[in-house]
Symmetry: C2
Subunit: 430 residues, 2 copies
């Protein structure tokens, strides 16, 4: 298969009947043909368990976040590691996103291959083969790529590699709080990294400052950390450290996982470093939202942030898992054909949301006392009460907590309309 | 694409450069061509993080378990849900396995499509589309398939479906302990299920008894539960409940996840039900083993089981994850580019095993005080000590606990020889 065909394959993606959670078809098929097959979830035309995205809610969330960043005059580079679904990246970009954030060289290649041309890899780029992946992509002059640096060793490895390849790589200095994850802690570390960048000046270009505030827990310490980043950007701008990058493009100042994006927008949007500046937020989970950790953090945002309040709506959970009741072997216990292979379980177990008996007209809300109490690889234990109207063969829809670790359980995810028709299929590339 | 091409695709599987953890290649490629690319892990020719299978240890484990069941005169249907790697299923069958166990209709289709023709689906088969998948496969008269039943509702749904399709489905009665997972608890439930099977006698055929003892914790209660299954099989044999199946094939008596397979072999191999009997064990994790939950349970087996002792060897951990040190931002803390996207974390975190600095001659064992203390989606926190010889760009190999939830993070897994050459690639179908 030559390069042209290869490109073609990814631009007209084929879905595979050997992957779980779809309807009946006998041979690989273009995702665009799925709608014509007219699968309906309630007519049991999809193999459960299945993961579904609710089209209207995805679109709502996409527009909500874009409006939020626009109100602040900042830019959006959604973290693509959450979904690893290029079809969703394309919608995020079409909706106004500045670029896509990713976590690894592999993820960067997936996004590039599907047309993304501005990427922040919010991690250090380490390893010969990973650098080779990026070096190959950087042969395309239209590709803008930024990765992080936080150590002399890391800068030296990058410098030596890209010098040998006669290429340049753009980097963001990562700042980190003591006790946190990656990122320079001290002024001494920072100076040493900047000196290393200067030593490789024809091959490593400093383009901005990056932080991940999600390792901190309190608003006050987060605002303090954000101020440190702003002050650092200002200091480095004054010292001419961004000169090469700033001659052509705005300096980048970027932060924000999904829980504190409003505080990051508030602090960073006020930054004045004396140079053109792109403030870039990197939330990942907003697109599907959830009913667990991210609902909790979004409720905080709706309370504390004036722009979110002004918007008079909030993010909506847009990803559910549907599964069958497989056994009700003893009083009070239903066993569901849904397991750790299908759903995140690290930040709360799936929550029963809808109950549907095939043949009925519509799903109904599940009683509030139904709860998942444990999961195995392929099973969930759900507590019910004696006398509840539930039987083997019933369908249950579950809301989830932690979209990232749910997406990576599925290679193909149905997109459905309010009538539960499958109108599209989204592929993931983990 | 017609059916012939489709079959062809799966018989000559193509690996995809958009999936993580492999070396450099520009276009999809037959897995059989990978060896000729001569990627070597230590020469950094593979993108990390990566998952690798050690060929010699896989082969050792495969032969070890086959010898164990042969000594007991019982049969092996390895649980394929662990790896979902048809190439490994084929090796297990070639090595002497009686069949493959799977957990869902989707998994059954994957195995069938790759040539497996005897499958126990160790679950209830629920849902119209899932039944359709199985009904399609059963059009092949060479395909032997068994699923579980534990409720009247379940039998009635199966009976109505397979009657409408003018087909027969073979089922195993599942017994379960009170407080356990699926399976009938009481004599009344058992009778009701048997009566339901009798009502659908031209479409639902009782072929044997199934249990999953892994929900129990103590050897004594497990032996008691196994005796219940033997007694049930005997009682049903005497009552003629297996008559249709037994006219052509041995009755099936099956149990055993990975932790108690020796006790199941011991109890079930002594069973005499007055009819030809296939005792089938269904361990899944033995092929790769681990250094966590399964090492602990195997140590128990080596202690208590005379045949395992006689074999004078044990299972070997055969699956490792390799990743880079990405940052050492503060004293005592290394951040590894390996996360919940790459490794199981539900039964113990990955354990550092080997340390390799690119350019050195060989990896060395990691100091015993290096330990993973936490993981995020794409990062692991590893504790080290001041003064340890570790730096950014070093490679660390991690042993894992819980193979199942590690396999499902990888679509393509390298198989390596003792020189760390990639000699094959195994694809997974989750």
């Amino acid at each position: 298969m030559n390069d042209t065909n290869y490109q073609d394959t990814y631009q007209h993606p084929v879905i595979d009947p050997l992957h779980k959670g779809l309807g009946a078809y006998q041979a690989p098929l273009a995702a665009s043909e799925v709608k014509s097959l007219q699968w309906n979830l309630l007519r049991e035309e999809v193999s459960l368990p299945t993961a579904v995205l609710y089209e209207e809610r995805i679109q709502h969330n996409l527009e909500w976040m874009q409006q939020f960043v626009t109100e602040y005059g900042v830019k959006l580079a959604p973290h693509g590691k959450t979904t690893m679904a290029p079809k969703l990246f394309a919608r995020q970009l079409a909706g106004g996103a500045w670029g896509i954030t990713l976590a690894t060289a592999h993820q960067t290649r997936v996004a590039y291959q599907h047309g993304v041309r501005r990427i922040i890899m919010a991690n250090q780029l380490v390893g010969k083969q990973n650098m080779t992946v990026i070096a190959d992509l950087l042969k395309d002059p239209s590709f803008a790529f930024y990765c992080l640096v936080d150590s002399v060793e890391g800068v030296d490895l990058l410098g030596a590699f890209f010098k040998a390849h006669q290429q340049k790589i753009s980097v963001l200095l990562e700042l980190g709080p003591v006790g946190g994850r990656t990122g320079v802690r001290t002024a001494e570390q920072q100076s040493a990294v900047l000196e290393a960048i200067a030593r490789w000046k024809d091959h490593v270009v400093l383009a901005g400052i990056e932080i991940y505030e999600g390792v901190l827990k309190e608003e006050a310490e987060i605002r303090q950390f954000l101020q440190r980043a702003v002050n650092c950007a200002k200091e480095l701008a004054q010292a001419g450290k961004f000169a090469e990058h700033a001659a052509q493009l705005p300096v980048i100042l970027t932060g924000a996982g999904t829980a504190w994006y409003d505080v990051v927008a508030d602090e960073f949007s006020k930054a004045d470093i004396g140079l053109p500046l792109d403030v870039v937020l990197r939330p990942g989970c907003y697109l599907t939202h959830d009913v667990g950790v991210y609902r909790a953090s979004q409720e905080q945002i709706q309370t504390r942030n004036p722009i979110a309040r002004k918007m008079r709506s909030t993010l909506q959970p847009a990803l559910q898992l549907w599964a069958y009741v497989q056994s009700i072997p003893e009083s009070g216990k239903a066993i569901i054909a849904l397991g750790k292979r299908d759903a995140a379980f690290d930040a709360g177990l799936p929550l029963p949301a809808l109950h549907y008996r095939p043949g009925n007209s519509a799903p109904s809300a599940t009683p509030s006392h139904w709860a998942v109490t444990g999961m195995m690889d392929q099973h969930a234990y759900m507590t019910v009460a004696d006398g509840d109207d539930i039987k083997v063969g019933d369908m249950i829809a579950f809301d989830i907590s932690h979209p990232c670790l749910t997406f990576d359980k599925w290679r193909q995810i149905s997109v459905i309309n309010p009538q539960y028709d499958v109108i599209d299929v989204v592929q993931t590339f983990f």
